[in-house]
Amino acid sequence: MSAVPQIPAQNLAIRWGTWIVPAILVALLPLFFKSGFAINALNEIGIMIIFALSYNMLLGQSGMLSFGHAVYSGIGAYIAIHALNLIGKGSFSFPVTLVPLIGGLAGMLCGVILGYVSTKRAGTTFAMISMGIGEMVAACSLMFPAFFGGEAGISSNRMTTPGWFGITYGPSVEVYYLIAAWMLLAVLAMYALTHTPLGRMMNAVRDNPERAEFVGYNPQRVRYLAMILAGFFAGIAGGLSAINYEIVTAEAVGAVRSGNVLVMAFIGGMGQFFGPIIGAVLMVFLGLTLSGITKAWLFYFGLLFLSMVLFAPGGLSGLIMLHQPIWRAKLMSRIAPSYVAALLAGLVAFSGVIGLVELTYRRLAEADHKMKFFGMVVDAEQPLGWIAALILLAVGAWLCKMAWAKVSDAWRDITLQLQGGKKA
C-alpha cells in the first residue's frame, strides 16, 4: 500500500499483473462456465463485488458501520429500471450500456440527500441513523406504488434498442460482459480512490477524527464525501442488477440486502481492499449452493458470521495477510500440520452441529421426520441420531481444544524465529 517514489521494474510488473491477469481471467470465464445457471451466478457475483466494495468504502476505509446501504443500490436500481422503461417507450434515447451510470448518479443523489443527515455523526449513532433511514425507505416502498411498484415491483425489458455494435443484451453472456466491464472499471476507480488525498483522509477520519480535525480537515465533510461516493458505486451495482434481472422489487431497498452486503464485506475482510471481493465471491457461491442443500442455510451463515466476529475480526483477507510474513520466510510447512489437525477437528465438531441443527429442524418444522445424512436415513424421532450428533460435537470440541494448543505452539515457535531472523 505504501507509495514508494521509485519502483523497480519487477514490482511494476507485479503491480500491473495484479490487474491484467484477473481482467483476462474475467474475460475468459464464460468459455468455461457455459450453463445459464453458472452465467447467472457470475453476474450476481460481479454485481455483489461492486456493491460490497462500495460498502467497504464506508466500513473499512472511513469507519462508518452502515445498516442501510441497500437504500443507495436499491434507489439506483429503481431509477435505472424506470430509465429502461422510458428508453423502451422511446421517450428517452440513451444507450443501455450506460444505464448503470444513471443508477450510479441516482445513488449519488441519495448519498447527497440522506448522507447529509446521517454523516453528521460517526460511530454507533451513525449505525443507528443509517438503520433508521433504511427502515424509512423500506417502509416508503409500500406507500408509493407508482415509483416502487408495490408488492410486484417494477419489471422491464433490457432489449430495447439495437445497441452499439449490434449488442442487444438478449443472451445473458452479453450481460455478463457488461457487468464484467463495469465491475473492472468500478474496482479500478475505487482502488485509485484509496490512493487519493481524500482516500487517505477517509482513513485518518476513521482512525482519529480529532487529529484529522487538527490537521485542518472537517471529519463530517470527509464522511459526507465518502457517503456520496459510496452511494455512487452502490447505485452502479443497483443499475446493473436492474439490467440483469429486468425486475426490481421492494427487497432491493430492504434490510436483508443491507445485512447481506455487510456480511460479505466483513467475512471477506474490511481491512484490505480486496477483502470484500473474496467475501462477495464466497457468499454468493455459498448462498447458491447451500440454499439447495439445506433449508437452515441462513442459520449457518449467521454462525459463520458470528464466529468470524469472535475469532477472526480481520475477515478472510485478514487471515491471509497474517500469514504473509510466514509465507515470505518459507515457514508455512512448520505451521501447516497443526492447521490440518485443527481443520479436521473443526470438521468433526461442525458435523455434530450440523447434525443437531438438521435433526431439530426435521423434528419441529418439517412434516417428514426422516432425513438423509451422508447416505444414511436418520429418523429424528429416534434418539440414535441425536446421540451420534452429540458425541460428534463433544469429541470434536475436545479435539479442537487439543489442536488449538498445537496451533498456538507452532505460532509461538514461528514468531520467535521471525523475530530472531530480523535481529541477525
Binding site: 460517526a122 454507533t124 433508521g132 455487510l262 441462513l298 458470521f305 466476529v309 419441529l364
Partner: protein, 315 residues
C-alpha cells in the same frame, strides 16, 4: 372525544411497552457503550419462551420464568461473547450483536417455524376493563400498563435507592475509580446486560400475546426502539421515557386515523386536481404512514436538535 381517549390509552400502553425495551437498551448503552442490536431479539425470545412455558404450566409462572431465562441468556451472551469482542473496539461489538440478532431469528425459525405461534392472553384477563362511551378497553392492556409501571418504579428504586444501583451509577461515569474501590465492574456490566435483556424478555412476555408472536416481531420493533433512544437522547432514561410515550401515542393515533392527506387538505380549503401528480401523492392514507412516522421523526430530530430531547452529549 371517545376516539381520542381510547387511542390515547392504547398509545400509552404501547409507549410503556416501548419504554421497557428502551430502558434496558439505554442502560446498556450508557454503561458499556454497546448498542445492543439484538435487544429486540431478546424481546422476541421472551415472547416465545413464555408461549412455550405457558403451554406446560400456564401464563402466571411463565410471567416470572421466561424473563429469568432471557436474563440468564443475556448474561451468558455478555460473558462469553461481548466481553471477547470488547477488546477489538466498538464496530466489532456492534457487528457481534447484529450477527446475534440474525442468528436468534434463524434459531426461532428452526425451533418454532416461520408462521406465528398461538400465544394467547390468559382467560383470567380476557374481559373488558371499562367502557369509554361505547368503546371498551380490554383488561389485558391495563395489565400491561400495570406491569410496565411496576417495572419502571422498580428500576428507578433499584438505581437510586440501593447499593448496587449506586455502583451502577458510578460505573457509568467513573468505571476505573469504581474498580479501584474494589468493586467488580465487569460483573456489574454482566449484571446490567442480563437485567436489560430480562426487561426486554418481560416486555416480550406481556407484548407477545397482545400483538403477534412471530419471527419478524424483533425486526419490526427493533427499529422503533432505536428511534426512541435517539429521540430521547442517547443514554438518558428520562428522555427514553418521554420518547417512548411520544412514539407510542403518535403511532397508535396514526394507525387509527382513517383519512387521507387529501381530506386534511380539503378541510383547510385546498382542493387538488384529481389525477395530478400531487393528488396521487397526497391520496395516501395517514394510517399507511404509521410505519414511516417514527423514522421521519428521528431524521427531523437529528436535523433540528441532534442530541435528542434530554441528551447531554453530541455523540
Amino acid at each position: 372525544m371517545e376516539f381520542f381517549l381510547i387511542s390515547l390509552m392504547h398509545g400509552i400502553s404501547f409507549g410503556l411497552l416501548l419504554f421497557m425495551l428502551s430502558s434496558g437498551l439505554t442502560l446498556i448503552l450508557s454503561m458499556m457503550g454497546v448498542l445492543n442490536f439484538a435487544h429486540a431479539s431478546f424481546y422476541m425470545l421472551g415472547a416465545y419462551f413464555a408461549y412455550q412455558v405457558s403451554h406446560y404450566v400456564g401464563f402466571w409462572p411463565a410471567l416470572i420464568i421466561a424473563p429469568l431465562i432471557v436474563a440468564a441468556l443475556g448474561a451468558a451472551v455478555e460473558r462469553f461473547g461481548l466481553r471477547r469482542v470488547h477488546k477489538y473496539g466498538h464496530v466489532p461489538e456492534l457487528l457481534f450483536t447484529f450477527g446475534l440478532a440474525f442468528l436468534i431469528e434463524e434459531i426461532v425459525h428452526i425451533i418454532w417455524g416461520r408462521a406465528p405461534v398461538d400465544y394467547q392472553i390468559p382467560a383470567a384477563l380476557d374481559f373488558t376493563l371499562f367502557k369509554i362511551y361505547s368503546t371498551s378497553f380490554p383488561a389485558y392492556k391495563g395489565f400491561m400498563m400495570l406491569i410496565s409501571l411496576l417495572m419502571m418504579v422498580g428500576l428507578w428504586l433499584m438505581i437510586t435507592r440501593t447499593r448496587i444501583g449506586l455502583i451502577i451509577q458510578a460505573s457509568i461515569t467513573h468505571p476505573q475509580m469504581v474498580e479501584a474501590l474494589g468493586h467488580n465492574v465487569t460483573r456489574v456490566f454482566m449484571l446490567v446486560f442480563g437485567v436489560g435483556c430480562g426487561l426486554a424478555g418481560l416486555a416480550g412476555v406481556i407484548g407477545g400475546n397482545a400483538f403477534v408472536t412471530e419471527p419478524s416481531m424483533a425486526a419490526t420493533l427493533g427499529g422503533i426502539v432505536f428511534v426512541v433512544i435517539v429521540l430521547g437522547g442517547l443514554g438518558s432514561l428520562t428522555g427514553a421515557f418521554i420518547a417512548s410515550l411520544l412514539v407510542g401515542i403518535i403511532q397508535t393515533f396514526s394507525i387509527a386515523v382513517d383519512a387521507s392527506f387529501l381530506d386534511v387538505l380539503a378541510k383547510i380549503g385546498i382542493a387538488l386536481q384529481p389525477g395530478s401528480q400531487l393528488h396521487n401523492f397526497f391520496s395516501i392514507k395517514i394510517s399507511q404512514t404509521a410505519n414511516v412516522l417514527p423514522f421521519l421523526l428521528m431524521v427531523l430530530m437529528l436535523i433540528v436538535r441532534p442530541r435528542g430531547i434530554m441528551g447531554t452529549r453530541e455523540s
